[in-house]
Amino acid sequence: MNRPALATLILSLLALLLASLVLAVTFGPADIAPSEVWQTIGWHFGLLPESPVGRLRDAIIWELRLPRVLAAAAVGAGLALCGAVMQALTRNPLADPYLLGLSSGASLGAVAFLLAGASLLMPLGAFLGAGAAMALTLLVIQLLGGATPTRAILAGISISALAAAATSFLIFWSATGDSYREILSWLMGSLSGVVWSEALLVLAALVLAGLPVLLSGRSLDAFAFGDTAAATLGVDVVRLRWWLLGGTALLTGVLVSIGGAIGFVGLIVPHVARLVTGSRHRVLLPVAMLLGASFMIWTDTAARSLFEPRELPVGIITALLGAPIFLLVLLRYRRIT
Protein backbone atom coordinates (compact mmCIF):
# COMPACT_ATOMS: atom_id res chain seq x y z
CA MET A 1 0.00 0.00 0.00
CA ASN A 2 1.45 3.35 -1.01
CA ARG A 3 1.92 6.44 1.10
CA PRO A 4 -1.20 8.49 0.22
CA ALA A 5 -3.42 5.41 0.60
CA LEU A 6 -1.82 4.68 3.95
CA ALA A 7 -2.24 8.24 5.18
CA THR A 8 -5.90 8.16 4.13
CA LEU A 9 -6.42 4.88 5.94
CA ILE A 10 -4.81 6.06 9.18
CA LEU A 11 -6.71 9.36 9.12
CA SER A 12 -10.03 7.59 8.49
CA LEU A 13 -9.38 5.19 11.34
CA LEU A 14 -8.48 8.10 13.65
CA ALA A 15 -11.68 9.86 12.65
CA LEU A 16 -13.64 6.66 13.24
CA LEU A 17 -12.05 6.29 16.68
CA LEU A 18 -12.79 9.88 17.64
CA ALA A 19 -16.40 9.62 16.44
CA SER A 20 -16.76 6.30 18.26
CA LEU A 21 -15.44 7.80 21.50
CA VAL A 22 -17.97 10.63 21.42
CA LEU A 23 -20.96 8.66 20.11
CA ALA A 24 -20.45 5.76 22.51
CA VAL A 25 -20.69 8.21 25.43
CA THR A 26 -24.13 9.29 24.22
CA PHE A 27 -25.42 5.70 24.48
CA GLY A 28 -27.17 4.74 27.71
CA PRO A 29 -30.26 5.26 29.83
CA ALA A 30 -29.78 9.02 30.02
CA ASP A 31 -30.09 10.74 26.63
CA ILE A 32 -27.02 12.77 25.85
CA ALA A 33 -26.19 14.67 22.69
CA PRO A 34 -22.72 14.51 21.06
CA SER A 35 -22.35 18.27 21.52
CA GLU A 36 -22.80 17.85 25.26
CA VAL A 37 -19.95 15.36 25.29
CA TRP A 38 -17.64 17.80 23.50
CA GLN A 39 -18.60 20.66 25.77
CA THR A 40 -18.18 18.63 28.95
CA ILE A 41 -14.72 17.53 27.88
CA GLY A 42 -13.93 21.13 27.01
CA TRP A 43 -15.09 22.33 30.42
CA HIS A 44 -12.99 19.77 32.29
CA PHE A 45 -9.95 20.87 30.31
CA GLY A 46 -10.70 24.49 31.26
CA LEU A 47 -11.71 25.55 27.77
CA LEU A 48 -15.22 26.57 28.79
CA PRO A 49 -15.99 28.92 31.70
CA GLU A 50 -18.80 26.85 33.17
CA SER A 51 -20.27 23.38 32.91
CA PRO A 52 -22.67 23.29 29.96
CA VAL A 53 -24.84 20.46 31.26
CA GLY A 54 -25.47 20.59 34.98
CA ARG A 55 -23.98 18.49 37.74
CA LEU A 56 -25.88 15.21 37.22
CA ARG A 57 -25.37 14.99 33.48
CA ASP A 58 -21.78 16.06 33.95
CA ALA A 59 -21.26 13.15 36.34
CA ILE A 60 -22.86 10.72 33.91
CA ILE A 61 -20.66 11.91 31.06
CA TRP A 62 -17.41 12.56 32.89
CA GLU A 63 -17.42 10.04 35.73
CA LEU A 64 -19.52 7.18 34.43
CA ARG A 65 -19.25 6.87 30.68
CA LEU A 66 -16.09 8.58 29.49
CA PRO A 67 -13.59 6.59 31.56
CA ARG A 68 -15.27 3.38 30.50
CA VAL A 69 -15.26 4.27 26.81
CA LEU A 70 -11.61 5.36 27.01
CA ALA A 71 -10.69 2.17 28.86
CA ALA A 72 -12.51 0.12 26.22
CA ALA A 73 -10.54 1.88 23.47
CA ALA A 74 -7.25 1.29 25.27
CA VAL A 75 -8.05 -2.36 26.02
CA GLY A 76 -9.04 -2.98 22.40
CA ALA A 77 -5.90 -1.31 21.08
CA GLY A 78 -3.71 -3.18 23.56
CA LEU A 79 -5.20 -6.59 22.83
CA ALA A 80 -4.89 -6.06 19.08
CA LEU A 81 -1.26 -5.00 19.49
CA CYS A 82 -0.40 -7.97 21.72
CA GLY A 83 -2.09 -10.38 19.32
CA ALA A 84 -0.34 -9.01 16.23
CA VAL A 85 3.06 -9.16 17.96
CA MET A 86 2.57 -12.71 19.24
CA GLN A 87 1.41 -13.90 15.82
CA ALA A 88 4.62 -12.54 14.32
CA LEU A 89 6.92 -13.89 17.03
CA THR A 90 5.52 -17.42 16.96
CA ARG A 91 4.80 -17.35 13.20
CA ASN A 92 1.44 -18.75 14.16
CA PRO A 93 -1.72 -17.03 12.93
CA LEU A 94 -3.62 -18.43 15.91
CA ALA A 95 -1.44 -16.82 18.56
CA ASP A 96 -2.91 -14.23 20.90
CA PRO A 97 -2.62 -13.41 24.62
CA TYR A 98 -5.34 -15.97 25.25
CA LEU A 99 -3.87 -18.94 23.42
CA LEU A 100 -0.36 -18.46 24.75
CA GLY A 101 -1.69 -18.68 28.30
CA LEU A 102 -0.98 -15.06 29.22
CA SER A 103 -4.61 -14.10 29.77
CA SER A 104 -5.27 -17.10 31.99
CA GLY A 105 -2.10 -16.45 33.96
CA ALA A 106 -3.10 -12.84 34.39
CA SER A 107 -6.57 -13.88 35.52
CA LEU A 108 -5.07 -16.25 38.07
CA GLY A 109 -2.77 -13.57 39.46
CA ALA A 110 -5.55 -11.00 39.62
CA VAL A 111 -8.03 -13.35 41.30
CA ALA A 112 -5.40 -14.50 43.80
CA PHE A 113 -4.65 -10.90 44.79
CA LEU A 114 -8.36 -10.06 44.88
CA LEU A 115 -9.25 -12.95 47.15
CA ALA A 116 -6.27 -12.19 49.37
CA GLY A 117 -7.91 -8.82 49.97
CA ALA A 118 -5.43 -6.79 47.95
CA SER A 119 -7.84 -5.62 45.25
CA LEU A 120 -5.87 -2.39 44.74
CA LEU A 121 -2.85 -4.46 43.70
CA MET A 122 -4.81 -6.49 41.14
CA PRO A 123 -2.87 -5.05 38.17
CA LEU A 124 0.35 -6.16 39.85
CA GLY A 125 -1.08 -9.62 40.44
CA ALA A 126 -2.23 -9.80 36.83
CA PHE A 127 1.19 -8.75 35.55
CA LEU A 128 2.94 -11.29 37.75
CA GLY A 129 0.48 -13.96 36.62
CA ALA A 130 0.95 -13.06 32.95
CA GLY A 131 4.73 -13.02 33.36
CA ALA A 132 4.74 -16.38 35.16
CA ALA A 133 2.47 -17.92 32.53
CA MET A 134 4.71 -16.59 29.77
CA ALA A 135 7.84 -17.97 31.47
CA LEU A 136 6.19 -21.36 31.93
CA THR A 137 4.97 -21.42 28.33
CA LEU A 138 8.50 -20.62 27.13
CA LEU A 139 9.90 -23.31 29.42
CA VAL A 140 7.50 -25.90 28.01
CA ILE A 141 8.43 -24.79 24.47
CA GLN A 142 12.10 -25.32 25.33
CA LEU A 143 11.34 -28.74 26.84
CA LEU A 144 9.52 -29.66 23.63
CA GLY A 145 12.70 -28.85 21.73
CA GLY A 146 12.48 -25.19 20.67
CA ALA A 147 9.94 -22.84 19.18
CA THR A 148 7.74 -23.91 16.32
CA PRO A 149 4.26 -22.53 15.69
CA THR A 150 2.61 -25.76 16.81
CA ARG A 151 4.69 -26.16 19.95
CA ALA A 152 4.00 -22.57 20.96
CA ILE A 153 0.26 -23.17 20.82
CA LEU A 154 0.39 -26.57 22.53
CA ALA A 155 2.52 -25.14 25.33
CA GLY A 156 0.20 -22.14 25.64
CA ILE A 157 -2.91 -24.29 25.81
CA SER A 158 -1.44 -26.52 28.50
CA ILE A 159 -0.36 -23.58 30.66
CA SER A 160 -3.67 -21.87 30.01
CA ALA A 161 -5.59 -24.94 31.19
CA LEU A 162 -3.43 -25.17 34.29
CA ALA A 163 -3.94 -21.52 35.19
CA ALA A 164 -7.69 -21.73 34.54
CA ALA A 165 -7.95 -24.77 36.79
CA ALA A 166 -6.01 -23.02 39.55
CA THR A 167 -8.27 -19.97 39.20
CA SER A 168 -11.42 -22.09 39.44
CA PHE A 169 -10.02 -23.83 42.48
CA LEU A 170 -9.21 -20.52 44.18
CA ILE A 171 -12.71 -19.23 43.52
CA PHE A 172 -14.29 -22.45 44.72
CA TRP A 173 -12.14 -22.39 47.85
CA SER A 174 -12.54 -18.86 49.01
CA ALA A 175 -15.16 -16.87 47.13
CA THR A 176 -18.68 -16.48 48.47
CA GLY A 177 -21.96 -14.99 47.23
CA ASP A 178 -21.44 -11.55 45.78
CA SER A 179 -17.72 -11.78 45.19
CA TYR A 180 -18.32 -15.07 43.36
CA ARG A 181 -20.70 -13.40 40.91
CA GLU A 182 -18.47 -10.41 40.52
CA ILE A 183 -15.37 -12.48 39.81
CA LEU A 184 -17.23 -14.69 37.37
CA SER A 185 -18.52 -11.75 35.36
CA TRP A 186 -15.06 -10.19 35.38
CA LEU A 187 -13.47 -13.46 34.25
CA MET A 188 -15.74 -13.50 31.23
CA GLY A 189 -14.48 -10.05 30.40
CA SER A 190 -16.26 -6.92 31.51
CA LEU A 191 -15.50 -3.22 31.69
CA SER A 192 -18.37 -2.60 34.05
CA GLY A 193 -17.69 0.06 36.70
CA VAL A 194 -14.36 1.27 35.28
CA VAL A 195 -13.25 4.52 36.95
CA TRP A 196 -10.79 7.20 35.87
CA SER A 197 -7.79 5.76 37.74
CA GLU A 198 -8.26 2.44 35.95
CA ALA A 199 -8.76 4.05 32.55
CA LEU A 200 -5.60 6.08 33.05
CA LEU A 201 -3.68 3.00 34.14
CA VAL A 202 -4.58 1.15 30.92
CA LEU A 203 -3.75 4.20 28.82
CA ALA A 204 -0.41 4.56 30.60
CA ALA A 205 0.40 0.88 30.09
CA LEU A 206 -0.55 1.21 26.45
CA VAL A 207 1.85 4.10 25.97
CA LEU A 208 4.70 2.69 28.08
CA ALA A 209 4.62 -0.86 26.76
CA GLY A 210 2.95 -0.17 23.43
CA LEU A 211 5.29 2.50 22.08
CA PRO A 212 8.49 0.41 22.19
CA VAL A 213 6.56 -2.50 20.71
CA LEU A 214 5.26 -0.28 17.90
CA LEU A 215 8.80 0.89 17.15
CA SER A 216 9.95 -2.70 16.78
CA GLY A 217 7.56 -3.18 13.86
CA ARG A 218 10.28 -3.40 11.27
CA SER A 219 12.23 -5.98 13.23
CA LEU A 220 9.05 -8.06 13.41
CA ASP A 221 8.92 -8.00 9.60
CA ALA A 222 12.31 -9.68 9.62
CA PHE A 223 10.71 -12.71 11.30
CA ALA A 224 8.54 -13.41 8.25
CA PHE A 225 10.95 -16.12 7.11
CA GLY A 226 11.93 -17.36 10.55
CA ASP A 227 14.59 -16.76 13.18
CA THR A 228 17.61 -17.44 10.96
CA ALA A 229 16.43 -14.97 8.37
CA ALA A 230 15.74 -12.38 11.07
CA ALA A 231 19.20 -12.85 12.56
CA THR A 232 20.92 -12.42 9.19
CA LEU A 233 18.92 -9.22 8.68
CA GLY A 234 20.61 -7.82 11.75
CA VAL A 235 17.96 -8.52 14.37
CA ASP A 236 19.14 -9.67 17.79
CA VAL A 237 16.53 -12.41 17.85
CA VAL A 238 16.86 -13.54 21.46
CA ARG A 239 16.89 -10.04 22.92
CA LEU A 240 14.01 -8.81 20.78
CA ARG A 241 11.92 -11.85 21.65
CA TRP A 242 12.41 -11.35 25.41
CA TRP A 243 11.82 -7.64 25.09
CA LEU A 244 8.58 -8.08 23.16
CA LEU A 245 7.28 -10.94 25.28
CA GLY A 246 8.04 -8.87 28.39
CA GLY A 247 6.24 -5.85 26.94
CA THR A 248 3.21 -7.85 25.86
CA ALA A 249 3.08 -9.67 29.21
CA LEU A 250 3.09 -6.32 31.03
CA LEU A 251 0.41 -4.95 28.77
CA THR A 252 -1.71 -8.11 28.93
CA GLY A 253 -1.44 -8.09 32.73
CA VAL A 254 -2.78 -4.56 32.98
CA LEU A 255 -5.49 -5.14 30.37
CA VAL A 256 -6.73 -8.25 32.12
CA SER A 257 -6.64 -6.62 35.54
CA ILE A 258 -9.01 -3.92 34.25
CA GLY A 259 -11.15 -5.73 31.71
CA GLY A 260 -10.88 -9.38 32.61
CA ALA A 261 -10.01 -11.97 30.01
CA ILE A 262 -11.61 -10.60 26.85
CA GLY A 263 -11.06 -13.16 24.14
CA PHE A 264 -10.81 -13.06 20.34
CA VAL A 265 -9.97 -9.35 20.01
CA GLY A 266 -6.24 -10.07 19.94
CA LEU A 267 -6.85 -12.89 17.52
CA ILE A 268 -9.18 -11.42 14.91
CA VAL A 269 -8.41 -7.70 14.81
CA PRO A 270 -4.83 -8.22 13.51
CA HIS A 271 -6.18 -10.57 10.84
CA VAL A 272 -8.79 -8.10 9.70
CA ALA A 273 -6.15 -5.36 9.69
CA ARG A 274 -3.82 -7.58 7.67
CA LEU A 275 -6.47 -7.98 4.98
CA VAL A 276 -6.28 -4.23 4.48
CA THR A 277 -2.61 -3.47 5.07
CA GLY A 278 -0.73 -6.64 4.18
CA SER A 279 1.84 -8.06 6.56
CA ARG A 280 4.26 -5.15 7.07
CA HIS A 281 4.18 -4.50 10.80
CA ARG A 282 5.21 -0.87 10.67
CA VAL A 283 1.81 -0.32 9.06
CA LEU A 284 -0.08 -3.28 10.47
CA LEU A 285 0.51 -2.55 14.17
CA PRO A 286 -0.92 1.00 14.28
CA VAL A 287 -3.83 0.04 12.01
CA ALA A 288 -4.65 -2.99 14.18
CA MET A 289 -4.51 -0.80 17.31
CA LEU A 290 -6.88 1.82 15.86
CA LEU A 291 -9.22 -0.86 14.59
CA GLY A 292 -9.12 -2.71 17.92
CA ALA A 293 -9.91 0.47 19.83
CA SER A 294 -13.04 1.26 17.80
CA PHE A 295 -14.10 -2.39 17.79
CA MET A 296 -13.85 -2.62 21.57
CA ILE A 297 -15.72 0.67 22.10
CA TRP A 298 -18.70 -0.61 20.16
CA THR A 299 -18.73 -4.13 21.57
CA ASP A 300 -18.58 -2.68 25.08
CA THR A 301 -21.34 -0.20 24.25
CA ALA A 302 -23.42 -3.13 23.03
CA ALA A 303 -22.57 -5.04 26.19
CA ARG A 304 -23.97 -2.34 28.44
CA SER A 305 -26.97 -1.29 26.32
CA LEU A 306 -28.34 -4.44 24.66
CA PHE A 307 -30.03 -5.86 27.76
CA GLU A 308 -30.43 -2.73 29.85
CA PRO A 309 -30.42 -2.53 32.81
CA ARG A 310 -28.50 -5.82 32.88
CA GLU A 311 -24.89 -5.90 31.73
CA LEU A 312 -23.69 -8.60 29.38
CA PRO A 313 -20.01 -9.45 29.92
CA VAL A 314 -18.34 -7.98 26.83
CA GLY A 315 -16.23 -11.12 26.48
CA ILE A 316 -19.36 -12.97 25.41
CA ILE A 317 -19.99 -10.49 22.60
CA THR A 318 -16.39 -10.53 21.38
CA ALA A 319 -16.51 -14.32 21.31
CA LEU A 320 -19.87 -14.37 19.49
CA LEU A 321 -18.55 -11.94 16.87
CA GLY A 322 -15.00 -13.22 16.92
CA ALA A 323 -15.50 -16.89 16.22
CA PRO A 324 -17.35 -16.43 12.88
CA ILE A 325 -15.02 -13.64 11.76
CA PHE A 326 -12.10 -15.85 12.59
CA LEU A 327 -13.55 -18.62 10.43
CA LEU A 328 -13.92 -16.19 7.53
CA VAL A 329 -10.31 -15.12 7.97
CA LEU A 330 -9.16 -18.74 7.94
CA LEU A 331 -11.10 -19.41 4.75
CA ARG A 332 -9.59 -16.40 3.08
CA TYR A 333 -6.05 -17.45 4.08
CA ARG A 334 -6.73 -20.89 2.72
CA ARG A 335 -7.60 -19.47 -0.67
CA ILE A 336 -4.46 -17.38 -0.84
CA THR A 337 -1.89 -19.90 0.34
Binding site: R3, R91, P93, L215, S216, R218, S219, D221, A222, A224, F225, G226, T228, A229, A231, T232, L233, G234, V235, D236, R274, G278, S279, R280, R282, Y333, I336, T337
Partner: protein, 260 residues
Amino acid sequence: MSAGLVVSGVAVELGGQAIVAGVDMVAPVGQVTGLIGPNGAGKSTLLRAILGLVPAMGSVSFDGTDLTVLPRRTRAQFTAFVEQSSDTDARLTAREVVLLGRIPFQSIWQAAPSPEDHAQTDAALAAVEMTDFADRLYQTLSGGEQQRVQIARALAQQPRLLLLDEPTSHLDVHAQLAMLDLLRRSARAGAAVLVALHDLNLAAGFCDSLVVLQGGRLAAAGAPGDVLTPALLRQVYGVDATILRHPGDGRPLIAYDLPG
Protein backbone atom coordinates in the same frame (compact mmCIF):
# COMPACT_ATOMS: atom_id res chain seq x y z
CA MET B 1 46.28 -11.79 0.18
CA SER B 2 43.22 -10.76 -1.81
CA ALA B 3 40.26 -9.08 -0.23
CA GLY B 4 37.46 -11.30 0.98
CA LEU B 5 36.43 -13.87 3.53
CA VAL B 6 39.13 -15.58 5.55
CA VAL B 7 38.15 -18.42 7.84
CA SER B 8 40.75 -19.99 10.07
CA GLY B 9 40.53 -22.74 12.61
CA VAL B 10 36.73 -22.56 12.78
CA ALA B 11 35.27 -25.32 14.92
CA VAL B 12 31.69 -25.90 16.01
CA GLU B 13 30.49 -28.34 18.61
CA LEU B 14 26.80 -29.10 18.91
CA GLY B 15 25.60 -31.33 21.71
CA GLY B 16 29.14 -32.47 22.51
CA GLN B 17 29.79 -33.50 18.92
CA ALA B 18 32.31 -31.77 16.64
CA ILE B 19 30.32 -30.81 13.53
CA VAL B 20 33.04 -28.59 12.11
CA ALA B 21 36.54 -29.42 13.32
CA GLY B 22 39.03 -26.71 12.50
CA VAL B 23 38.43 -25.48 8.97
CA ASP B 24 40.66 -22.98 7.15
CA MET B 25 39.38 -21.51 3.90
CA VAL B 26 39.09 -18.32 1.87
CA ALA B 27 36.42 -16.89 -0.40
CA PRO B 28 37.88 -13.99 -2.39
CA VAL B 29 35.88 -10.98 -3.58
CA GLY B 30 34.99 -11.25 -7.26
CA GLN B 31 34.75 -15.01 -7.19
CA VAL B 32 32.16 -17.71 -6.62
CA THR B 33 33.49 -20.23 -4.14
CA GLY B 34 31.66 -23.54 -4.01
CA LEU B 35 31.32 -25.42 -0.75
CA ILE B 36 30.84 -29.12 -1.47
CA GLY B 37 30.83 -32.37 0.43
CA PRO B 38 28.43 -35.16 1.33
CA ASN B 39 25.44 -34.77 3.65
CA GLY B 40 26.58 -34.22 7.22
CA ALA B 41 30.00 -32.93 6.15
CA GLY B 42 29.31 -29.66 7.99
CA LYS B 43 28.59 -27.32 5.06
CA SER B 44 25.51 -25.70 6.58
CA THR B 45 27.10 -25.47 10.00
CA LEU B 46 30.21 -23.82 8.57
CA LEU B 47 28.00 -21.25 6.81
CA ARG B 48 26.14 -20.64 10.06
CA ALA B 49 29.39 -20.24 11.94
CA ILE B 50 30.57 -17.65 9.41
CA LEU B 51 27.26 -15.82 9.88
CA GLY B 52 27.60 -15.93 13.65
CA LEU B 53 24.41 -17.96 14.03
CA VAL B 54 26.06 -20.74 16.03
CA PRO B 55 28.78 -20.39 18.68
CA ALA B 56 32.12 -21.21 17.05
CA MET B 57 35.81 -21.29 17.87
CA GLY B 58 38.41 -19.82 15.52
CA SER B 59 38.37 -16.64 13.53
CA VAL B 60 36.23 -15.30 10.71
CA SER B 61 37.24 -12.07 9.03
CA PHE B 62 36.25 -10.13 5.96
CA ASP B 63 38.66 -7.68 4.31
CA GLY B 64 40.67 -7.88 7.52
CA THR B 65 37.72 -7.04 9.81
CA ASP B 66 36.95 -9.57 12.51
CA LEU B 67 33.29 -10.48 11.87
CA THR B 68 32.74 -12.14 15.23
CA VAL B 69 32.92 -8.87 17.17
CA LEU B 70 30.70 -6.83 14.83
CA PRO B 71 27.15 -5.97 15.95
CA ARG B 72 24.53 -8.01 14.07
CA ARG B 73 23.14 -4.98 12.32
CA THR B 74 26.50 -3.80 11.04
CA ARG B 75 27.24 -7.28 9.83
CA ALA B 76 23.87 -7.45 8.04
CA GLN B 77 24.79 -4.30 6.13
CA PHE B 78 27.34 -6.19 4.05
CA THR B 79 26.63 -9.87 4.65
CA ALA B 80 23.57 -11.65 3.26
CA PHE B 81 22.35 -15.21 3.47
CA VAL B 82 19.97 -17.26 1.35
CA GLU B 83 18.59 -20.52 2.67
CA GLN B 84 17.69 -23.68 0.79
CA SER B 85 14.06 -22.62 0.78
CA SER B 86 12.17 -19.87 2.57
CA ASP B 87 8.52 -20.13 3.50
CA THR B 88 6.24 -17.65 5.18
CA ASP B 89 2.61 -17.34 6.19
CA ALA B 90 2.87 -13.58 5.93
CA ARG B 91 1.02 -11.98 3.04
CA LEU B 92 3.95 -10.21 1.43
CA THR B 93 4.43 -9.28 -2.20
CA ALA B 94 7.70 -10.06 -3.93
CA ARG B 95 8.65 -6.39 -3.62
CA GLU B 96 7.92 -6.39 0.12
CA VAL B 97 10.09 -9.47 0.57
CA VAL B 98 12.96 -7.78 -1.24
CA LEU B 99 12.40 -4.67 0.88
CA LEU B 100 13.13 -6.80 3.96
CA GLY B 101 16.73 -6.71 2.81
CA ARG B 102 16.75 -3.00 3.62
CA ILE B 103 15.93 -3.54 7.32
CA PRO B 104 19.60 -3.37 8.38
CA PHE B 105 19.81 0.12 6.86
CA GLN B 106 16.66 1.58 8.44
CA SER B 107 16.54 3.34 11.80
CA ILE B 108 13.73 2.41 14.16
CA TRP B 109 12.37 5.96 13.98
CA GLN B 110 12.07 5.84 10.22
CA ALA B 111 8.39 5.62 9.37
CA ALA B 112 8.71 4.39 5.79
CA PRO B 113 11.40 3.05 3.45
CA SER B 114 13.67 5.78 2.05
CA PRO B 115 14.04 6.55 -1.68
CA GLU B 116 17.40 4.77 -1.47
CA ASP B 117 15.63 1.68 -0.07
CA HIS B 118 13.19 1.72 -2.97
CA ALA B 119 15.96 2.26 -5.50
CA GLN B 120 17.98 -0.68 -4.16
CA THR B 121 14.85 -2.83 -4.10
CA ASP B 122 13.99 -2.01 -7.71
CA ALA B 123 17.58 -2.66 -8.80
CA ALA B 124 17.65 -6.01 -7.02
CA LEU B 125 14.33 -7.06 -8.56
CA ALA B 126 15.65 -6.09 -11.98
CA ALA B 127 18.90 -8.01 -11.41
CA VAL B 128 16.97 -11.24 -10.87
CA GLU B 129 14.51 -10.38 -13.66
CA MET B 130 11.54 -10.36 -11.32
CA THR B 131 10.38 -6.79 -11.91
CA ASP B 132 7.21 -8.00 -13.62
CA PHE B 133 6.40 -10.15 -10.60
CA ALA B 134 7.03 -7.43 -8.03
CA ASP B 135 3.42 -7.06 -6.93
CA ARG B 136 2.58 -10.76 -6.86
CA LEU B 137 2.12 -12.42 -3.48
CA TYR B 138 5.21 -14.43 -2.56
CA GLN B 139 3.19 -17.63 -2.03
CA THR B 140 1.84 -17.51 -5.58
CA LEU B 141 5.35 -17.73 -7.07
CA SER B 142 7.02 -20.96 -8.17
CA GLY B 143 9.93 -22.38 -6.21
CA GLY B 144 12.45 -20.95 -8.67
CA GLU B 145 10.79 -17.55 -8.61
CA GLN B 146 10.73 -17.55 -4.81
CA GLN B 147 14.46 -18.30 -4.73
CA ARG B 148 15.09 -15.46 -7.17
CA VAL B 149 13.14 -13.14 -4.89
CA GLN B 150 15.26 -14.33 -1.95
CA ILE B 151 18.42 -13.61 -3.96
CA ALA B 152 17.02 -10.16 -4.72
CA ARG B 153 16.34 -9.67 -1.00
CA ALA B 154 19.96 -10.62 -0.34
CA LEU B 155 21.18 -8.25 -3.11
CA ALA B 156 19.15 -5.43 -1.56
CA GLN B 157 21.44 -5.81 1.45
CA GLN B 158 24.22 -4.67 -0.90
CA PRO B 159 26.31 -7.64 0.21
CA ARG B 160 30.06 -7.74 -0.07
CA LEU B 161 29.77 -11.26 1.30
CA LEU B 162 26.95 -13.45 -0.01
CA LEU B 163 26.40 -16.87 1.52
CA LEU B 164 23.96 -19.42 0.15
CA ASP B 165 23.01 -22.83 1.49
CA GLU B 166 22.09 -25.15 -1.38
CA PRO B 167 19.97 -22.52 -3.11
CA THR B 168 19.40 -24.68 -6.18
CA SER B 169 18.13 -27.90 -4.60
CA HIS B 170 14.47 -27.28 -5.34
CA LEU B 171 14.94 -25.76 -8.77
CA ASP B 172 14.67 -27.18 -12.27
CA VAL B 173 17.69 -27.20 -14.57
CA HIS B 174 16.92 -23.90 -16.23
CA ALA B 175 16.39 -22.16 -12.90
CA GLN B 176 19.58 -23.71 -11.50
CA LEU B 177 21.68 -22.37 -14.38
CA ALA B 178 20.02 -18.97 -14.14
CA MET B 179 20.64 -18.85 -10.39
CA LEU B 180 24.33 -19.68 -10.64
CA ASP B 181 24.81 -17.26 -13.51
CA LEU B 182 23.25 -14.61 -11.30
CA LEU B 183 25.64 -15.49 -8.48
CA ARG B 184 28.59 -15.25 -10.84
CA ARG B 185 27.48 -11.80 -11.98
CA SER B 186 27.04 -10.71 -8.36
CA ALA B 187 30.56 -11.88 -7.62
CA ARG B 188 32.00 -10.04 -10.62
CA ALA B 189 30.18 -6.92 -9.45
CA GLY B 190 32.26 -6.96 -6.29
CA ALA B 191 31.10 -9.58 -3.81
CA ALA B 192 32.60 -12.69 -2.31
CA VAL B 193 30.07 -15.46 -2.98
CA LEU B 194 30.24 -18.66 -0.98
CA VAL B 195 27.65 -21.22 -2.00
CA ALA B 196 27.03 -24.72 -0.68
CA LEU B 197 26.11 -27.02 -3.57
CA HIS B 198 25.22 -30.66 -4.05
CA ASP B 199 25.46 -30.84 -7.82
CA LEU B 200 29.13 -31.28 -8.64
CA ASN B 201 28.67 -30.51 -12.34
CA LEU B 202 27.05 -27.20 -11.49
CA ALA B 203 29.83 -26.51 -9.02
CA ALA B 204 32.45 -27.37 -11.62
CA GLY B 205 30.76 -25.18 -14.23
CA PHE B 206 30.15 -22.04 -12.25
CA CYS B 207 32.54 -21.88 -9.30
CA ASP B 208 35.95 -20.24 -9.56
CA SER B 209 37.18 -22.41 -6.75
CA LEU B 210 35.89 -25.22 -4.57
CA VAL B 211 36.18 -26.03 -0.89
CA VAL B 212 35.54 -29.69 -0.09
CA LEU B 213 34.42 -30.72 3.38
CA GLN B 214 34.38 -34.23 4.76
CA GLY B 215 33.40 -35.10 8.32
CA GLY B 216 33.75 -31.47 9.41
CA ARG B 217 37.28 -31.16 8.05
CA LEU B 218 38.76 -29.66 4.91
CA ALA B 219 39.37 -32.45 2.38
CA ALA B 220 40.57 -30.30 -0.52
CA ALA B 221 40.45 -26.77 -1.90
CA GLY B 222 41.34 -25.15 -5.18
CA ALA B 223 40.22 -24.73 -8.79
CA PRO B 224 37.49 -27.20 -9.85
CA GLY B 225 39.77 -28.80 -12.42
CA ASP B 226 42.39 -29.54 -9.76
CA VAL B 227 40.04 -30.55 -6.96
CA LEU B 228 37.58 -32.80 -8.75
CA THR B 229 39.63 -35.95 -9.29
CA PRO B 230 38.46 -39.57 -9.31
CA ALA B 231 40.52 -40.14 -6.18
CA LEU B 232 38.84 -37.31 -4.27
CA LEU B 233 35.33 -38.37 -5.31
CA ARG B 234 36.17 -41.91 -4.20
CA GLN B 235 37.52 -40.67 -0.86
CA VAL B 236 34.86 -38.07 -0.04
CA TYR B 237 31.68 -39.40 -1.62
CA GLY B 238 32.55 -43.08 -1.96
CA VAL B 239 31.68 -43.06 -5.67
CA ASP B 240 33.66 -44.02 -8.75
CA ALA B 241 33.62 -41.49 -11.54
CA THR B 242 35.34 -40.58 -14.75
CA ILE B 243 36.25 -36.94 -15.21
CA LEU B 244 35.62 -35.77 -18.77
CA ARG B 245 36.24 -32.35 -20.28
CA HIS B 246 33.49 -30.21 -21.75
CA PRO B 247 34.12 -30.06 -25.51
CA GLY B 248 33.42 -26.31 -25.55
CA ASP B 249 35.24 -24.75 -22.61
CA GLY B 250 37.16 -27.69 -21.19
CA ARG B 251 35.57 -27.51 -17.74
CA PRO B 252 35.45 -30.81 -15.82
CA LEU B 253 32.36 -32.98 -16.31
CA ILE B 254 31.74 -35.72 -13.80
CA ALA B 255 30.43 -38.96 -15.24
CA TYR B 256 29.53 -41.30 -12.41
CA ASP B 257 30.27 -45.00 -12.82
CA LEU B 258 27.07 -46.80 -11.91
CA PRO B 259 27.36 -49.38 -9.15
CA GLY B 260 27.01 -53.07 -10.03
